[in-house]
């Protein structure tokens, strides 16, 4: 009798361990379907290297967009890719099935047993999809089109047996093997009873879609950093070049010169922002002296409105006021008789000031809200006590209100410090023009111009943009930690 319990315990332990393998396998599969380097459906190099299995399954147009010409010429049948998409969908469904099984494995015995059936069906579906992929690969290797030579066809649509195929096959086979071993360990009688999953795992499963989305759209993005270490040739082959592009940034004269200018612009803009960061505080302090509620409401509504307007619209406003045919020139014309006939937005040497003023115009009223609220929280007794001591209006403002706002202000200042390299793209993009680009190009705009707007596009532009993005991310994170540490050691509170 004792021996049987011991055996059962041992068996349960083995079963639990195998369930962990299933869960890990499921999550791993769920991750790699989004990784383009691990696409088992890339049966020809004509399929773009940035296509993941997931994309193959959801978008046929992406699958074939480098192959439009060969398909049109009949070098390869369009149906091959329709079937490739179907195969990818089947593989994807198989993986989802295994994931369902893994999710149910967190439940009670009933749930686990139901989940167990999803395991071999998932494995088989993946296997079937892979078989489809294999047959389609064979089709591309031995095309039906006999009107042109095989070599020519292979040149047009180069067959490529993806090694990733084996990875997925391994996954499918492991799923089936796991099913067999778990069933062997399990006394296989479908139990009656309530289907349920333990609360702690159930809550996790509820949160799982959110976690997965976070992973796909935030963490997976970091994969793109690898581009900083590769050189892409015209034929689309990536070679690892180490820190070549990092060195290139500093050794190539023209690039380095532009980079220094960009850094200067970035620091100047952020610096001007830091220098004027007290403006919202002043706004709030004086705003609190307005006692008429109607006036307060009107002023607050109107001054916070610009914050919710896009930078493009701000640019539209700027054009209407300061362009060659804008309001300002018409007003000048009305007074002096001649229009200056120039656009005020194209003056290179005042661009820093212009950007600062637009920033102040857009943000001051909004940033002040937090201070206005802080002021309304100040104990009125302090003002009364100060009044008894003979403090006048400005005395109370300077010796009570302002010091009470310093803690909030210091947090804002530290956050601004952490963001010193991030000016944002929109403002500088919309206001930039060929005449002011020298002084307006900040890091974010520089990365955009390199990556997406490159005139004289060269091999270097995209890796360079990545190098800069990556360094900026790392430095910004470091600054954030420094700011947080400063806040912790001075105020005893963290800001993140």
């Amino acid at each position: 009798m004792e021996k049987t319990t011991e055996n059962t315990a041992k068996r349960n332990k083995a079963e639990a361990a195998m369930y962990w393998v299933v869960r890990i396998l499921a999550v791993a599969a769920l991750v790699i379907v989004f990784i383009s380097e691990l696409n088992p459906a890339r049966i020809t190099t004509g399929i773009h290297s940035s296509i993941s299995l997931f994309t193959s399954a959801v978008s046929k147009s992406k699958l074939t967009y480098l192959l439009a010409a060969p398909i049109r010429m009949g070098y390869v049948e369009d149906s091959v890719f329709t079937f490739l998409q179907i195969s990818s969908i089947i593989i994807l469904l198989g993986i989802i099935s295994v994931c369902v099984s893994a999710a149910l494995s967190f439940g009670n015995e009933k749930a686990r047993q139901i989940g167990l059936f999803f395991l071999p069906s998932g494995g088989c579906a993946t296997g079937a999809g892979l078989l489809g992929v294999y047959l389609l690969y064979k089709r591309i290797e031995n095309p039906q089109n006999t009107s042109v030579s095989l070599e020519f066809l292979h040149k047009q649509v180069p067959p490529n047996f993806p090694w990733q195929f084996w990875l997925y096959l391994g996954f499918a086979i492991s799923a089936v093997i796991l099913f067999i071993s778990i069933s062997a360990a399990n006394k296989f009688s479908l139990r009656k009873g309530k289907f349920e999953i333990t609360e702690k795992y159930r809550l996790f499963l509820y949160a799982f879609p959110i976690i997965l989305l976070t992973f796909i759209f935030s963490y997976l993005t970091l994969k793109g950093f690898s581009m900083a270490f590769y050189e892409t040739s015209n034929t689309g082959i990536n070679t690892f070049v180490g820190f070549k592009w990092f060195a290139y940034l500093f050794t190539d004269g023209a690039v380095f010169e532009r980079f220094i200018r960009v850094i200067r612009n970035t620091l100047v803009m952020s610096g001007l922002g830091l220098i004027t960061s007290w403006l919202p505080v002043a706004f709030a302090v004086f705003f609190s002296e307005i006692k008429n509620n109607a006036v307060r409401k009107v002023v607050q509504t109107l001054t916070t409105l610009p914050n919710f307007i896009s930078w493009i619209l701000v640019y539209a406003v700027a054009l209407s006021l300061f362009s060659t045919s804008g309001l300002l020139n018409h007003v000048i014309e009305a007074f002096t008789g001649t229009s200056p006939e120039k656009s005020w937005l194209e003056i290179n040497n005042t661009v820093w000031l212009q950007m600062l003023i637009w920033g102040i115009w857009k943000g001051t009223g909004w940033s002040a809200i937090i201070y206005i609220a802080a002021i309304s929280g100040i104990d009125q007794g302090m003002y009364e006590a100060a009044e008894i001591d003979g403090a006048k209006r400005f005395g109370k403002m300077w010796y009570i209100t302002v010091p009470m706002l310093i803690p909030t202000y210091s947090v804002m200042l530290l956050l601004a410090f952490a963001n010193v390299l991030s000016n944002g793209l929109d403002q500088y993009l919309v206001f930039s023009n060929p005449k002011n680009i020298e002084n307006i190009e900040v890091l974010d705009l520089y990365v955009y111009n390199l990556g997406f707007n490159a005139q004289g596009n060269s091999d270097a532009t995209k890796p360079l943009a990545t190098v800069i993005s990556m360094s900026k991310t790392v430095i910004s994170l470091a600054l954030l930690f420094i700011a947080n540490w400063t806040s912790k050691s001075i105020r005893g509170e963290s800001i993140i």
Binding site: F34, S36, S50, I51, S52, F54, L203, F204, A207, I210, L213, F217, T221, L222, K223, G224, F225, M227, F286, F287, E289, I290, Q300, T301, L302, T303, T304, L305, F308, I309, S310, I312, L313, Y315, A316, V317, L319, S320, S325, L327, H330, W361, G365, W366, I369, I370, A373, Q380, E387, R393, L425, V430, Y448, G451, F452, T466, I468, S469, T473, S476
Partner: protein, 306 residues
């Protein structure tokens, strides 16, 4: 009230001195001037769209409209692609905001549950992306490999999880007394039922705030349209369209041609730019004054978190 101010305890009465009056006049004047500066550009754009187009072209409109007509607005229907962009913007704003709010509410609630498996780990995992930004090119590559370039879903899917909103909802739900949930548990309600029947209605104030922020952000969004919609002009958002109208004159020529079709007198570049600008901002300017308290509540909540 006009010239004396009672303190809260009701005792002392403060008489305004002449210096106080000077201060008030200057203070009110400065704030009114700043408010005017903030408002005038919008007003200026608007009066230009309803004035006589010939006068607008000559720059004769400065403070008040002349020859009021609304033909420019009806003429917009002839502007190629504009209607489609409006539709893209409106639909993506509504859909993505609705999903984002529901997801934030649900995630915010689930992350308050202490017995979730490795709750702290997963919560941090979800929140950390708030503090880094991989940059445009890695982002583009990721979206491309997910098949989200030239795809309408690019306006929806990436915006579902917004860490900051999850934090706000979580903080809010944590401030709701725990006995409400406990009594529901005793009555036999499950997690999902508690969420739908209790937590969702109770957190409406915070959800209203994140709705309005989310909607404004979506409405103003233009980076994703600019960078991801490389070959699909039909998916451009309204802001992107406006950007093109403002910066590319060859597009404006097309507008002019369509303007001739519409029988509006003297339709010109400037007027079309102004009118599209007003249309693209109108929802915000109209809605903002009524929703202001939600915005203000939003920034205060954020500040509590720090």
């Amino acid at each position: 009230m006009a010239n004396s101010r009672k303190h809260r305890d009701g005792g002392t009465v403060h008489k305004n001195t002449p210096a106080d009056y000077v201060f008030y006049v200057i203070n009110y004047a400065v704030f009114m001037l700043f408010a005017l500066l903030c408002f005038f550009p919008f007003y200026y754009l608007f009066i230009n769209t309803v004035s006589d187009n010939g006068e607008v072209f000559r720059g004769a409109i400065t403070i008040y409209p002349k020859g009021i007509h609304f033909g420019n607005y009806t003429a917009l229907q002839y502007v190629a692609n504009l209607g489609r962009s409006v539709w893209i913007t409106v639909s993506s704003t509504v859909i993505s905001t609705a999903i984002m709010v529901f997801a934030s509410a649900f995630a915010g609630y689930i992350f308050t549950k202490k017995n979730m498996w490795h709750r702290r780990l997963w919560y941090r995992f979800t929140i950390i992306p708030m503090y880094f930004n991989a940059g445009l090119l890695p982002w583009f590559l990721n979206m491309h490999s997910l098949g989200l370039t030239n795809n309408y879903l690019a306006y929806i899917l990436p915006n579902i999880v917004v860490p900051f909103n999850i934090i706000m909802v979580k903080t809010y739900i944590e401030s709701i007394p725990a006995d409400i949930e406990e009594s529901a548990v005793i009555d036999g309600a499950g997690t999902l039922k508690i969420f739908m029947k209790i937590m969702l209605p109770l957190s409406i104030p915070i959800l209203a705030t994140i709705t309005i922020f989310g909607a404004v952000n979506r409405w103003n969004a233009f980076n994703d349209s600019l960078i991801l919609m490389t070959t699909s002009p039909k998916l451009f958002t309204l802001q992107h369209r406006l950007y093109i109208y403002l910066t590319q004159s060859n597009n404006l020529e097309q507008l002019m041609r369509s303007g001739i079709k519409s029988n509006v007198q003297n339709l010109n570049q400037k007027v079309v730019q102004y009118t599209v600008s007003v249309v693209s901002t109108l929802p915000i300017v109209l809605v903002y004054p009524f929703m202001q308290r939600f915005f203000i509540k939003g920034i205060m909540m954020g500040a509590v978190k720090g």
